[in-house]
């Protein structure tokens, strides 16, 4: 009986030691081991969980789908015209074309544990074309990067992950730096910081920060966040700025994984940037000005035409009246003629 107790304790200790080893093993080994388990014995579980997550997403979006279906039916007729008009307007306003079929849509699988906030389990894997190091975005901006890929699932780190880094620049291209998580405490843990900005590049609060395209992972022009303020650091030759992320933790689903081809493309303008919005506003204002100018000119022309016709009419009526006057007064103006001759005869214009 005592030997059984020792055996139980021994087995339990082995389990604890193995678990501790798993906790402290290098990340590469850990990822490889986890990936091997997921693709072999846990493959049915991964598939089941991905399907359940897709089912939940379908349930969540059911009402929206019904509403959208009705709206789409009513709007279908005008779609092609609107698309043409939209393309024309985007071209006029200097915005780039939107992303089309160059992304992979993904859902975030439910988190496990309390503090697993920095890694996202995605519902698509290599079967859908996901590859390692592909950027993950939402409509608001950058979320993170795919770190490991299985056939049916993949894992991405978000911008809050301690390993996250992205080469960034201000949207006007004046300041460059590296954006990384702000490892503060409390709420500040959910902010970013842009380090290594050259000292002369002063950024105002609210400046949009986008990816610079340097490096092999993130294409240029993905919105990262806006400047909240400057951080005081011991570095006197460079500035560090606190950045409010463009994608908040609560808005990290659904996601888009950018395909490899997009990474080499400049994505400036795909995310509505301050510059684009500003240039757009200027273009709209300029267009409005030109339209107003044309309208004003048209109005002036119309008034001039009306005045000319009025003058012509009055001249015509005056000449009619003048024809009734003696020839000696024909050189006088019509008004003086009227004043001299009294009220016009009935049937004549005043």
């Amino acid at each position: 009986m005592r030997s059984d107790g020792r055996l139980d304790t021994g087995i339990a200790l082995v389990c604890v030691v193995l678990a501790l080893l798993a906790l402290v093993m290098p990340r590469i080994t850990r990822d490889n081991l986890a990936s091997a388990l997921r693709t072999t014995v846990l493959s049915p579980i991964v598939t089941l969980e991905a399907r359940t997550t897709a089912m939940r997403a379908a349930i969540d979006s059911r009402n929206n789908v019904l509403q959208l279906r009705g709206r789409a039916a009513t709007q279908a007729l005008g779609v092609s015209a609107v698309a043409d008009e939209n393309a024309t307007l985007r071209q006029l306003l200097g915005l780039a074309s939107r992303l089309e079929q160059e992304f992979i849509p993904a859902e975030v699988l439910p988190a496990r544990g309390f503090a697993d906030d920095f890694t996202l389990a995605l519902s698509v894997g290599s079967n859908a074309g996901v590859e390692q190091f592909l950027p993950v975005v939402t409509a608001d901006g950058l979320v993170g990067m795919v770190r490991s890929v299985d056939p049916a699932t993949s894992y991405a780190i978000s911008w809050a992950h301690p390993d996250f880094r992205v080469s960034a620049m201000s949207v006007d291209g004046q300041a460059f730096g590296i954006v990384q998580p702000h490892l503060g405490s409390g709420v500040e843990r959910w902010l970013l910081e842009m380090r290594g900005v050259r000292f002369r590049a002063k950024l105002d609060t609210g400046t949009l920060i986008v990816s610079s395209g340097l490096g092999a992972t993130y294409p240029r022009g993905i919105a990262i966040g806006v400047v909240v303020g400057e951080l005081a650091t011991p570095e006197k030759w460079a500035r560090t700025y606190l950045i409010m992320p463009a994608v908040l933790p609560s808005a990290m689903s659904p996601l888009l994984i950018l395909r490899r081809g997009v990474q080499t493309r400049d994505l400036n303008g795909v995310w509505t940037s301050i510059t684009a919005a500003d240039s757009g506003a200027r273009a709209v204002a300029a267009a409005g000005d030109s339209i107003a100018r044309i309208a004003a000119m048209a109005e002036v022309a119309a008034r001039r035409a009306a005045l000319d016709s009025l003058i012509a009419d009055s001249l015509a009526s005056d000449s009619t009246a003048l024809r009734r006057l003696p020839p000696a007064d024909s050189a006088r103006r019509a008004d003086s003629v009227r004043r001299v001759t009294g009220p016009p005869p009935s049937g004549d214009r005043p």
Partner: protein
């Protein structure tokens, strides 16, 4: 969950039912749990490990907890090993105290699952060591007890409604 001493037909049938119950709970953990949104969730895997642990020796219970934990860890590689460690400890402890708490009494079973789930959450949170301050307190004193209560309620329903599968009987 080794089919143990009574190796006769009834013992084998009991072991098969226990395996079936375990498999159903594991399936529910990955097939039903994602449908439940919110901070308070049911931990079907912990129920499965606990129901298995009370039927077997502490060493085997720890092994089952370790394997179940490694499975979950493989799906969340950021904290690889944390679930395995927490579930090993909880399963080992559950198997030790089964004689005291896991009698054939509904209220005690609920209390047992509640305590085990809360202990599991505390252990797992501290192993991961990422939460701190007020967030940690809210997690451990609000959300974790609520999840434990919900898990205990589900465990009671399972024990009551599916008694042949989840009857606390040593194999």
């Amino acid at each position: 969950m080794t089919p143990v001493p009574s190796a006769g037909p009834s013992g084998a049938w009991s072991a098969a039912r226990a395996w079936l119950g375990f498999a159903l709970l594991v399936t529910a953990h990955f097939g039903i749990r994602p449908l439940i949104t919110g901070r308070v969730t049911v931990d079907f895997l912990l129920i499965a490990v606990l129901f298995a642990a009370v039927r077997m020796r502490p060493g085997l219970a720890a092994l089952v907890g370790f394997l179940a934990g490694i499975a979950v860890d493989a799906l969340a590689p950021a904290s690889f090993g944390a679930f395995a460690l927490a579930l090993s400890v909880v399963a080992f402890g559950a198997s030790w105290v089964k004689a005291v708490f896991f009698a054939d009494h509904v209220a005690l079973t609920g209390l047992f699952v509640f305590a085990a789930k809360w202990l599991f959450d505390i252990t797992h949170t501290f192993i991961q060591g990422r939460s701190s301050g007020a967030g940690l307190l809210v997690e451990l004193l609000l959300w974790s007890p609520l999840s434990a209560a919900l898990t205990a309620m589900v465990a009671l329903v399972l024990v009551t409604a599916f008694r042949p599968l989840y009857r606390p009987q040593t194999l």
